[in-house]
Amino acid sequence: MNIPLRNPNVVMKLSRLGSFHQSRLSFLRSFLKEFKDWEYKRDLFDLNEHGHGTAVFSFKKKNRVYSLICFANELDENERSDRVIATKWDTAFTLFDGVPTKLDIERLKNEVPKQEIGRLSYKELTLSRANKSVRVFNHVVESLSNGVQPDKELLAKVGYLYRTTAVYGSGKFGLADRFRIKNREEIYGPFRLEMMLVYLVRQFTFDQVNHVAKNRNPKKAVNLDPEICKSLGIGNSTGLGMAPFIVNHPTLLNNWIYAREVSLKKIREIKNVSTSESNLFKDCLKKSIKNITSWNTESEYQIKKIKSLLKDLNKFILFLDNEFSFNQEYPFNKLYEHLEVKYEEECIEYAVSMMMEPYDNIVAPLIKEMSSEEDKYFNIPTERTVFELKTILENKYSEILKIDFKKKENNLNFWFISKNKEEPRLANRFDENGSDLEQPLAIARDIKKLYDTLSAAKNSSTIAIFLSNNNNLRHVIRRAFIVEKFPYSEIQDNTIGQEIVPIDMLRLKLSFFGALKFDPRSDKWLRICMFQGAPLPEQLKNYDEHWVYN
């Protein structure tokens, strides 16, 4: 049986992309799998009684070492802010390529805490900062120093001791460019070093809280129970900064979605599913419900989505238990077809993620294909013709071409970079100044403009000739030739319309990161939790790959 890949016009709609959930493909899970047999070490832990100072944690295999350097500083209560406009943080981190010397640490001590205004070097790979959840951190210190474990209910509600507010890589602020490290096999797969940083930061937070408690009451203090540690992750506040990323990296986006789509296709093509496979699928699905029930949000849009997901999932589980049998040919295909007819997008995509759980043999090889050599596809094939380009647009952007951008509601917003923090923002072009400095993220509108201009040009003309008079459309011409080769490289929606929900773009990216606890605070930012429930570094050698659902 040959199941076709799903139609990009369905999958690449923002509402669908915003319904994606973590899966075996997610970067934090694939990071753990890759690094499970690396040697973990705490190389330096030089903190004072308040937990301020320097620490180094590392992963090592053969001659390769990655070291997380942590700087914990005193922070005035009034200076603590999760917003990207903050200038001071409780802690700052960098992942160093190799073993840092004392000189490296001294140099970085002056730069890393400054974050965006500091300067890093080619020896550093990623950069981040994190703030305490003061309420939780203080409670844990208080409890441990009195010899008792903290209130599990409170910890479960928040999910972390610290939350990061940004993780930078790939050449930002002087960090190593990707070309320097891209051939290392252990980092095939996107964002692996960012994941490593967050994972090691998580361990730092446990060691720091134990250290502070011990110093407060050396005789009575106990360490935080490893089972409690395991139940905690690292929080992350995320705003619009992430949204343009998926527009600006079309081949990378394609490779993420393509891996997911190929996985689904192959699973639907399995003729006979064993009992252990179907049981694992059902087991993960049922256990995962507790993750959803822990999501809190004040956003009405998200409350509606979460409620609908929960309702659908409970209905789906009842269907699986009472009406569906895996003792038939191509059961996952039948299940998928049933989902498409009876359930909302959020539930369909949730189930798709769960279907991957029993099939490491299908998913694992695809993970290595999720990075992209974007420069390879930068040049425009200018020998092609106007007719060919028009045909590409008609085939690949058929829905987009139907949008009328003369209508105010379809052209309402514009994306810009804020001068204060060099961060992407979205604003109403009719109410705010600055639309003349619009970023090239209105792809749908510009594709439509390209199509209209092409329609007035000679079909046999080459793109080289067309471009000589229409270089204002160059950015979308490049994209159109990319989407011809990479079907999932383009969001098939209007990113500047009245209906845009930017959080859909964030959720797509975060689902691939492997975020568990979505806590959308509005339609523009959210808090998430990473590595909650993940094995601790010392447990990595024999960990359960389905830890997400335990």
Partner: protein, 203 residues
């Protein structure tokens, strides 16, 4: 030290700010990154060009021919470069392409380097007395190694070099003969026991 990623981003944004379209600004970002990667003065020249752009009488060269001449103005290196890159497939069979007066010609150079990769041929670029051999966009061989701003090139010529050997047949044969000394002469017994021995290829 600035990373190449920072160089790309800042070059792109500043080019857009100077009035180029986003698509062209993306090209400039990639190009300046390339120049700096090859240790050529990309940022220096771009900064000077964009800051002086308003004071230079620039001409946009759209369709490139064998001889491209301006009179009282200079060709914009970005627009001439973009069009050279776009039109390289139709230009590759010309024996020589000449330009008179290109402003900030170092910014024109990476377009030629990228064109070399597209056509799979080396390209010799002369900017007055400065010579550059573009090797498929993998490296650039040049007699110019100064980190300086080059404000103009009066005579610019481009030769697309045919894919031919750089040595004589005699030199090749001599070297080949020497390489044969790593081979072992086969005696009858080795021939009879080698792979495929004893079979006829005519069945």
């Amino acid at each position: 030290m600035k990373s190449l990623s920072e160089i790309d981003t800042v070059s792109k944004r500043s080019s857009r700010a100077a009035g180029y379209s986003w698509g062209i600004a993306e090209e400039v970002g990639k190009n300046v990154r390339l120049l700096e990667f090859f240790s050529l003065p990309g940022i220096k020249n771009l900064n000077s060009f964009l800051n002086n752009k308003k004071n230079i009488k620039l001409e946009n060269l759209s369709l490139i021919t064998e001889d491209n001449k301006t009179n009282n103005s200079q060709y914009c290196p970005v627009i001439a470069g973009v069009n050279f890159l776009d039109q390289i497939k139709s230009l590759e069979n010309l024996s020589e392409i000449n330009f008179k007066n290109i402003a900030y010609p170092i910014l024109f150079l990476p377009f030629v380097s990228r064109a070399s990769e597209i056509v799979g041929k080396r390209i010799l670029l002369k900017l007055d007395e400065k010579e550059f051999v573009m090797n498929f966009n993998n490296c650039i061989y040049s007699n110019f190694s100064k980190q300086e701003i080059v404000k103009t090139a009066e005579r610019v010529s481009i030769k697309i070099i045919k894919n031919e050997d750089s040595f004589t047949e005699t030199e090749w044969k001599e070297l080949y003969k020497l390489s044969e000394e790593t081979f072992v002469e086969e005696n009858e017994s080795l021939k009879n026991s080698g792979a495929g021995a004893g079979l006829t290829d005519n069945d």
